[in-house]
């Protein structure tokens, strides 16, 4: 029983981070129909920016989240403004531009990874110090580290903040309107181009926060962006069109990985997400919380 509870607790912790990254992917997808294959590399860049801010600029740990989020917000917004907007501008009527936009995100992932490798500091495997250290916390027989609690609290706080932003702020409502019907949004005076940039900025900031939460647990290398595969799995499990679905999907994935490792085999851990994806796509393709597929009004 202890083993299961420990696996569940640990799975929830890592699942929260998968959820954040999945949220950043789904926000972009819902607003622009683009699948962001650079999501993992933005996680990596956000982690390194946070480490740089902490170790070289002396910024307090709590504020490196803000620093890294702002920096990657600018990165994401700039990418949309400089690259994606240009790609969109070359759209030929009757032909889909989505492939070109997806390839642009693949290009961004290579640029970010290559740029990270150029920095001598990234040659070695590094670890961001944890936000909290100290004695482990015992919940019955379950052992949790202070850092684990911090990850869950921060992830939940970010998700709540995001929900409040979309539900109660004018900009959030404008973003939702843009994602549902860009043409109608433009007609009522919503600056669609600015909204798209904002979406990319918010998504990148989410990825950066996930990167800083992950870095103490995962170790930092320019290749750590491969974690995005698990975020894709989380988004598919929860529903690629559902923000609550991402959260559920991430936690489900974290728990499933641990349970598979515990009861099947440790070397099945990396395969488990893809088996779950296939099952979900076969049985419930819209995901656990995804809505019915409907034609999008334009």
């Amino acid at each position: 029983m202890t083993l299961i509870l420990q696996a569940l607790a640990s799975g929830v912790v890592t699942g929260c981070v998968y959820s954040l990254i999945a949220l950043s992917l789904v926000i972009v997808y819902k607003s622009t129909d683009v699948i962001n294959f650079a999501g993992g590399e933005i996680v990596m860049v956000g982690g390194y920016i946070g480490m740089f801010a902490l170790l070289f600029l002396g910024i307090p740990y709590v504020l490196i989240f803000v620093f890294s989020a702002l920096a990657t917000f600018a990165l994401g917004a700039a990418f949309d403004r400089v690259v994606l907007h240009k790609v969109l501008g070359r759209a030929v009527p009757g032909q889909s531009i989505l492939v070109a936009m997806v390839i642009a995100t693949v290009g961004l992932s290579y640029v970010l990874k290559g740029s990270a490798r150029l920095v001598p500091y990234t040659e070695e495997v590094r670890r961001l110090p944890p936000l909290f250290t100290g004695e482990p916390i015992f919940l019955g027989s379950v052992i949790l580290q202070p850092q684990d609690i911090a990850i869950v609290v921060i992830a939940v706080a970010v998700m709540l903040a995001l929900w409040c932003f979309f539900a109660f702020t004018l900009t959030g409502k404008a973003l939702r309107a843009t994602s549902q019907n860009p043409r109608a949004a433009a007609l009522v005076g919503i600056p669609v181009r600015t909204m798209r940039m904002t979406v990319w900025g918010i998504a990148s900031a989410l990825a950066a926060i996930a990167g800083i939460l992950l870095a103490p647990k995962l170790l930092m290398t320019p290749d750590m962006g491969v974690i995005v595969i698990l975020a894709f799995a989380a988004a598919i499990i929860g529903g690629f069109t559902s923000l609550p679905g991402c959260i559920v999907g991430g936690i489900v994935l974290g728990v499933i990985q641990n349970l598979v490792g515990l009861y099947v085999a440790s070397n099945a851990i990396s395969v488990a997400p893809f088996i779950v994806i296939m099952l979900i796509l076969a049985l419930r393709p819209q995901g656990l919380l995804g809505g019915r597929v409907v034609a999008k009004k334009v």
């Binding site: 640990s10 799975g11 495997v125 580290q145 974690i227 641990n258 440790s266 851990i269």
Partner: protein
């Protein structure tokens, strides 16, 4: 008639003299009366340059030392250097270039097993001696093939066998838990470790095979904790090795020793920093193929020599790993004699059995044996202090084969 016989005799004699006087190496690529050309390659750029740059420089340094003493049978050693970036495709390309364009006598290179082994088909077909630089090279030395020599720091089979023997004989382990990756390296580690445990009559209470890119070791460590071992062995790579040490401390397992194989602790100080928990290192050991601590006197003399040759460069942790292969090559060239050919060189390599002054045990090759070292030592490390444990552990070459 007599005149004709005399003339014929003179002509025959002249032809014989010409035949004797012609360079013995006229048909042998890379060898002239003045020099022997050796093709050197390693990852000199890219992410894995740390594994290759300094070892290659060390090999070059050894060749220069030999040249200063007059060379080998009057011939100086000349090197042609290439960069394989640790990539199998690049390694094949550079070896082909060294052999067919530069026409080297032999190739001395490879810091990464996959890259070195990728060249095996070519060098075997072309009958070119290939002496690995510092790659473990399991796939290239098992089974033994005529032209490829390697594992001067030991294979992964050696790592598995010696780490198990250390855990049993020094740490008195009776219930061992073993973590290995589910790749070829892990297969090699586990095959010999398992055989040693069986031979010594010790139970392996848990074996966890984990993916090399694993990001969460919760499940395997929970299972290991539940198995209640008295020694935990890990042959994981650097990133998973850190995660394992962290969970080992988090789950309160530090009363039992944790022994980590050399591949997981390339630079102990960095490892300790990444683990970030002093409790994880209270009962921690790691393996090494060297004959001393990296700053011990036996290693220091090579570091001092390196600094003389390359005063502007601080040698990395793997520098001395490049020396034994160069030593083996120069010894074999000496043994092969002045009329050296590739086949004679290979025959001479098969007779080598020497102490390099770098590696823990002897470097030995023979007919049917192509892995040079089968030795490891173990070091206790508490985060700041390294203590060399007594004994050199040797794989017998039979366990797990």
């Amino acid at each position: 008639m007599t005149k004709f016989r005399s003339l014929r005799g003179a002509l025959l004699g002249a032809a014989a003299l010409l035949g004797l006087a012609a360079p013995a190496s006229a048909a042998e690529p890379g060898v002239t009366d003045q020099e022997i050309l050796i093709g050197l390659f390693a990852p000199m750029s890219g992410q894995l340059a740390a594994f290759g740059f300094d070892p290659l420089q060390a090999a070059k340094m050894w060749y220069e030392e030999i040249n200063k003493k007059g060379g080998i049978h009057g011939r100086k050693i000349k090197v042609a250097i290439e960069d394989d970036k640790c990539s199998p495709t690049e390694a094949v390309a550079v070896v082909k270039k060294l052999v067919t364009v530069d026409k080297v006598f032999l190739v001395n290179g490879g810091s990464c097993t996959a890259a070195a082994v990728a060249t095996q088909e070519f060098v075997t077909r072309e009958k070119v001696p290939f002496v690995m630089l510092n790659a473990a090279g399991d796939g290239g030395v098992f089974p033994a093939t005529r032209y490829m020599f390697g594992a001067f720091g030991g294979t992964q089979r050696t790592v598995g066998a010696t780490i198990m023997e250390f855990a049993i004989k020094e740490l008195k382990g009776k219930k061992i838990a073993f973590i290995a990756h589910d790749d070829d390296f892990g297969n090699s580690n586990w095959s010999t470790a398992q055989a040693v445990a069986k031979r010594l009559g010790v139970e392996v209470v848990a074996i966890e095979r984990i993916p090399p890119r694993i990001t969460d070791v919760t499940a395997p460590m929970l299972k290991i904790r539940a198995a209640n071992p008295d020694v935990l062995i890990s042959t994981a790579y650097p990133a998973p090795a850190v995660l394992i040490a962290q969970k080992y401390a988090e789950y309160g397992m530090t009363k039992i020793p944790l022994v980590q194989a050399v591949q997981g602790v390339p630079i102990p100080a960095v490892y300790a920093k990444n683990v970030g928990n002093p409790a994880a290192l209270t009962n921690f050991y790691y393996g090494s193929p060297l004959n001393d601590l990296t700053d011990g006197p036996k290693q220091q003399k090579w570091i001092d020599l390196y600094k003389q040759y390359y005063p502007d460069r601080k040698p990395g942790a793997f520098m001395t790993y490049g020396l034994p292969s160069a030593m083996a090559i120069t010894m074999a060239l000496e043994k092969a004699g002045k009329d050296v050919t590739r086949e004679k060189f290979v025959d001479a390599m098969e007779t080598l059995d020497f102490d390099s002054g770098v590696i823990a045990g002897p470097t030995v090759f023979a007919k049917g044996r192509r892995d040079g070292s089968r030795a490891s030592v173990f070091i206790k490390f508490d985060g700041t202090k390294h203590t060399l444990m007594p004994g050199v552990y040797l794989w017998n070459g039979k366990d797990g084969m």
